[in-house]
Amino acid sequence: MSLERFINQAVSSWMSEEGPDSDIVLSSRIRLARNFEDFKFPTLFSHEEAQAIIVKMEEILRESNFTKFGQMELLKIDELQPLQKRVLVEKHLISPNLAEDSPYGAVLLTENEEVSIMINEEDHIRIQCLFPGLQLTEALEAANEVDDWLESHIHFGFDEKHGYLTSCPTNVGTGLRASVMMHLPGLMLTQQINRIIPAINQLGLVVRGIYGEGSEALGNIFQISNQITLGKSEEDICRDLKGVVSQLISQERSAREALRKTSNIQLEDRVFRSYGVLSNCRIIETKEAAKCLSDVRLGIDMGYIDHLPKNILNELMILTQPGFLQQYAGGHLRANERDIRRAALIRERLKMEQDKR
């Protein structure tokens, strides 16, 4: 398969399209947790109950024509190859938990992959909407529409006092997790991030690096999400998160401007060194690739590099993960083989843009 075709098939709309403030905000996600009123939660349910839920979902899909977000397809986890599961995880369409620890799991996916509905994960149903750029309100609207559709067929567990009832008490109430993925190289380079993160945590929001392990943020990409699901309305949760994100955006912008003023040539040097590494490397590890991609993306945003599309960071961060590399190679690869493949894929992708000039 040619790289271009592979990329076209592999990329979801949130990776290729641009949204509001997409120089800093890569994507916005809304997740709603819902459960059937009369089935035990997935931690305790029987094989029969799990099957009944999947059958019910298939029925709903067949009988009602809900095509607002395009055709939907139901994939059962136990019918997928390990590599296919891994690719879905790397694209953030399903959780690692659904891929690995949910024997009766399934997922409903729309064609453009903006909407995915996980079935039989920690909760019976988890609706997820993933939009490019800062579009929390839009994503919430979409998730609500999907929720209304499902609700017209299913009695969800709900009570007046506790709201939507979920398996874990941390999700009860709205069942809503709103999260925003941000690229913050300016705040990292000026070391402001260390004082910003604790402040955000105090506001009931969580910040974490998204691709790295623990608190380390690979590629300067951070995820900010709400912690509290009870006692606030969905709109308020999104508004509060959006407020903090907007602040971060303006802080990041001023950090970038400050860098331009104080160390323009150093920054330009850093950007082009990283571009040099990416376009010439023969072996590259995830960590180095992420660092260089982040530099190059910053270089695009700040106008040092003008022949590359902005979405190259989103796209290559996803496509150079182990699952995707192996899918592109068509089989299992060891870590050192992956590093070689990763380098080749990045080089080829950058060359595609060179050739377009």
């Binding site: 995880v89 398996s167 941390t170 606030k232 309305s233 870590a335």
Partner: protein, 182 residues
Amino acid sequence: MICQECNQRPAALHFTKIINGEKTEVNLCEKCAQEKGEMFMFTGGSGFTFNNLLAGLLNIDPTVQKQNQNTFHQEEILQCNGCSMTFPQFIKVGRFGCAHCYETFKEQLPPVLRRLHSGNWSHSGKIPKRIGGGIHLKKQVESLKNELKELIQQEEFEKAAQIRDEIRTLEKELPGSNKGGE
């Protein structure tokens, strides 16, 4: 010590796994550990999860523990009739068994929820259409009635009249008139 995976390089990382009291030791070189490490990462590093933390949090909560002991002394352990989960079990796993658990354990829940949700313990977000806008209106009418009382006490009759009219319009919508939801 030599790495047990490749049997070539010296082992740099030593893991001890204890499963059901059975101890296994794993000794790997950095290279092989990295290979394995990516595998571990993918499975979500399932060793220590949020649930362990939650269970810890609930266990140190003195109110919960007290109630726990009390129910124990009375030999009357709360058990959900939907899924047979008991409150001690919930504390241990940090997850409910079914939607009915919330009703079963409703007396015990407020301190737990308050701790997890910055002091909040009641829902004020979306309501399913099948339950109807009734709850919303009811809540609104309740709060308006309280406001009315206060206004009357403060002898602010003009404002009170406005509120009274508002309550009347809302109450007209209330009984069985929520056709097709909100």
